[in-house]
Assembly symmetry: C2
Homo-oligomer: 224 residues x 2
């Protein structure tokens, strides 16, 4: 039991919303948390469910996607450890129009929306932190929108490589190229062609299916 709680607690430590809380506050939140293991390719929730829960990824990767009328999958985000997902339905008891799949074996902390609401009422500091986070994600989303409409595919691919690399020379893609293409709003053939071109131009090198080596960061930064 004691050990269980510790595991939950480490969920908190990873999340920007909760990790600055003092010990007493953290302990009070641990009480509300449920943990859930999800196998690869299993669903955390399906399209059409009423969830009203907050999920915090502890380990693994969770893909949030939506199918549109044409049956096309649009990947909305890929959640990595520390990322959280609350969204529209958190306090609203509405049906979700998206679904969440584990890309690998993952563990997730689950917080019930109503309970969280009560908790915020007692600890408004947490509410402020959530507002802060949501605001930042909103801004990022709006900025991403700009890049969709104004920037070339070349630029988008280059930016994404640089962002994913997080200053490392060699890095591993956290998702398949198909998903990557979807996140970037292009189809996989186009992404593949751009990567091939970058390789031909000695900007990057590609190893195995998911390894990318950055050869010329400067050029990548200035690509139009």
């Amino acid at each position: 039991m004691e050990k269980e709680k510790k595991q939950y607690a480490s969920c908190l430590i990873k999340v920007p919303i909760f990790n600055h809380l003092n010990e007493v506050e953290q302990e009070s939140i641990v009480e509300l948390i449920d943990a859930r293991k999800i196998n690869k390719d299993s669903f955390l929730y399906h399209q059409g469910e009423k969830k009203s829960q907050l999920y915090v990824v502890h380990q693994g990767k969770i893909k949030i996607s939506r199918y549109n009328e044409d049956g096309h999958e649009q990947v909305i985000r890929i959640l990595m450890p520390g990322d959280f997902l609350g969204d529209e339905t958190l306090f609203s008891h509405k049906e979700t129009d998206n679904f969440a799949v584990a890309l690998e074996e993952s563990s997730v902390c689950v917080l019930d929306g109503d309970q969280l609401k009560k908790h915020i009422t007692k600890n408004p500091e947490i509410g402020i932190r959530i507002i802060h986070e949501l605001s930042q994600r909103l801004s990022e989303s709006e900025r991403k929108m700009e890049s969709y409409s104004l920037e070339s595919v070349n630029r988008r691919v280059a930016s994404s490589i640089l962002k994913l690399s997080s200053d490392k020379k060699v890095f591993e893609l956290p998702f398949s190229k198909k998903d990557w293409a979807s996140i970037l709003g292009m189809n996989q053939e186009t992404l593949s062609r751009k990567l091939s071109q970058f390789k031909k131009d000695h900007l990057i090198d590609l190893k195995e299916q998911r390894k990318i080596i950055i050869l010329n960061r400067k050029e990548l930064e200035t690509i139009r």
Copy 2:
């Protein structure tokens, strides 16, 4: 003075974040509000400013835009009465990368971020409401992203017309076609061509510079 306050109060009534507060709560918030008149084409704030304020549009229309490196303007949103703007910088004291211009004479209620923070600490209910609103906007933003990447320009224009019409047969555009095109992520020529095509196909009719009459709603709904 009494009248002044009443004017401020009507700001609150329009905003989904505040309008369900009881009288005592509303009064306490009125204390924090400053009102500001903005002439047409004047700026509410500029790119690069540190604002950390919450703005609530009371009357008029405020355009939020950003210039990217190429000098292209990307319209992020157009705020109508009742809409609010807090975003990234609300609690963070960071510089904004966007700016806000009044499209017509407008009045705006201004709430200082730090004061609002204090107030939320005392009335967590408001915090929850803001979280709710932000969540919804985030979802909408993500959905808009989907339409950017997967839907044709035709579809995007048609959807936007239907949304703006809000079930009326005749309606007035709340912004210029140039701004509209920017919001839709296309250039004005393309938008103009699509509208002309719709008119030729007897789906809509165009009068003056900003009036749109819907002739065949059903077709508009099914356009690909």
